[in-house]
């Protein structure tokens, strides 16, 4: 974040502002520059500007109690958005609960009935891998997939400043998306 100061901010106000932003432990760089020059520094990312402060703006920042995000206070701007998202989530859960309540079948017996459902949706991709591939290979493919997922940051060393690196990254993304798409289709039972 960068705070931009107009050139006419008094020295004492400037000193207080620097103390204030340091106490907030934010990555704030007060710049005593004209607005145009400061915007050139910020470049094409104006969201990094915390506030364009003149003398009155500085006083407001000095006395503010709520942290800012891109010049917007957490309260009420972001808080209300989080509350709305929570409300929508509750509505979604209420609808699912009302129209598709989870059932409770008969008490389990020692041997499940023949028509009992097989694995749940999130394990179907695993089931397909283990049962469609030869027995010895399927398990290792699953193990290697999870190992690769864990170690992805250490395996992906593509240098995106080169064409070769960009191609490597593209291939990785295509493989990742294809794997996910296959997993979803297996989970939904479209493929089996």
């Amino acid at each position: 974040m960068i705070i931009l100061l107009e050139p006419n901010v008094p020295a004492e106000t400037h000193r207080k502002l620097v103390e204030r932003v340091r106490s907030l432990d934010l990555d704030v760089v007060p710049l005593e520059l004209g607005a145009r020059r400061a915007l050139e520094i910020v470049g094409s990312d104006p969201s990094r500007v915390l506030g364009l402060a003149d003398a009155d703006g500085v006083l407001e920042i000095l006395t503010r109690r709520t942290p800012l995000v891109s010049g917007e206070p957490i309260w009420p701007h972001f808080t209300i958005r989080v509350l709305i998202a929570t409300l929508l989530l509750i509505v979604l859960l209420a609808l699912l609960t009302a129209f598709f309540p989870p059932g409770l079948g008969d008490r389990a017996t020692a041997t499940p009935p023949a028509d009992a459902p097989s694995v749940e949706w999130y394990l179907r991709p695993l089931e397909v891998l283990l049962h469609k591939l030869p027995a010895a290979i399927g398990g290792w493919v699953v193990l290697l997939f999870w190992l690769g997922l864990f170690l992805l940051p250490f395996l992906d060393r593509a240098d995106t400043s080169t064409a070769r690196g960009q191609l490597q990254l593209l291939i990785l993304r295509v493989v990742g998306l294809a794997t996910l798409a296959a997993g979803i289709l297996f989970a939904l039972g479209v493929l089996s």
């Binding site: 989080v82 389990a108 864990f150 990742g176």
Partner: protein, 227 residues
């Protein structure tokens, strides 16, 4: 004079220490807020917020269900029936617990996908990714261990099928399945193991890992230097 002067000095020191602590706490809150609600990557931010809300929902509803649930094969099914039929809003709490578990799993996968596509796992956030994948594994484990608890036919069959799959995974699969079953075969001990894993072990593990995940996020910030 000297004694009162010392007392005043000590009071001033104590006040300074208290305010200092509060100031550091405020600084931490401010830093956390500016990182967690960054204006960038809005989709990812809302997914993360929903994941946290759903996780808290799981903890709350799970705690309520555990007040009436009996993790014993002889009474597990009856206690689940009791929750649905006799406990006020018990059916609603159980339903929310079940549906939010599915939504949570979907959103964790979506979050991981967004991180993957943005390559936000790259240095210095490698360990944040590793912790995130661990959280995905534990979210699946949560869902899997919870399905047996009502002790009905469908859950029983799904769990047996899942354990059979787990046993086929080399190195780790067999040991994990045996640990969950409480022996070489699925039996009376298994429900207790599933319940302990679901209600005691996994919640603490996940709370710890979420704390590490958020700590690493605050330490390294979001990708793009957008703090």
């Amino acid at each position: 004079m000297s004694r009162s002067g010392n007392a005043a000095s000590r009071l001033a020191q104590a006040r300074g220490a208290f305010l200092g602590t509060r100031s550091r706490f405020r600084a931490f809150l401010s830093h956390a807020a500016s990182t967690l609600v960054s204006p960038h990557y809005r989709g990812a931010r809302w997914i993360t917020a929903l994941i946290l809300i759903l996780f808290v929902t799981q903890l709350l509803t799970g705690t309520l269900l555990s007040l009436y649930y009996h993790p014993d094969p002889a009474s597990a099914h009856e206690s689940t029936h009791f929750i649905i039929d006799n406990v006020p809003t018990g059916w609603l709490v159980r339903s929310i617990h079940a549906w939010s578990a599915d939504l949570l799993l979907i959103l964790v996968v979506a979050h991981l996908l967004l991180v993957f596509l943005r390559r936000a796992y790259a240095r210095p956030r490698e360990y944040q990714w590793v912790v995130g994948v661990l959280l995905l594994v534990f979210t699946i484990a949560f869902r899997f261990t919870g399905r047996l608890l009502p002790w009905d036919e469908a859950g029983h069959a799904a769990t047996l099928a899942g354990l059979n799959l787990l046993e086929e995974v080399p190195i780790l699969g067999d040991a994990a399945a045996q640990w969950l079953m409480g022996g070489d075969a699925f039996g009376a001990k298994s429900l207790g193991r599933f319940y302990t894993t679901h209600a005691l072990i996994l919640p603490w593990l996940v709370v710890f890992l979420v704390a590490v995940h958020v700590y690493l996020l605050l330490r390294h910030g979001l990708k793009g230097g957008d703090r």
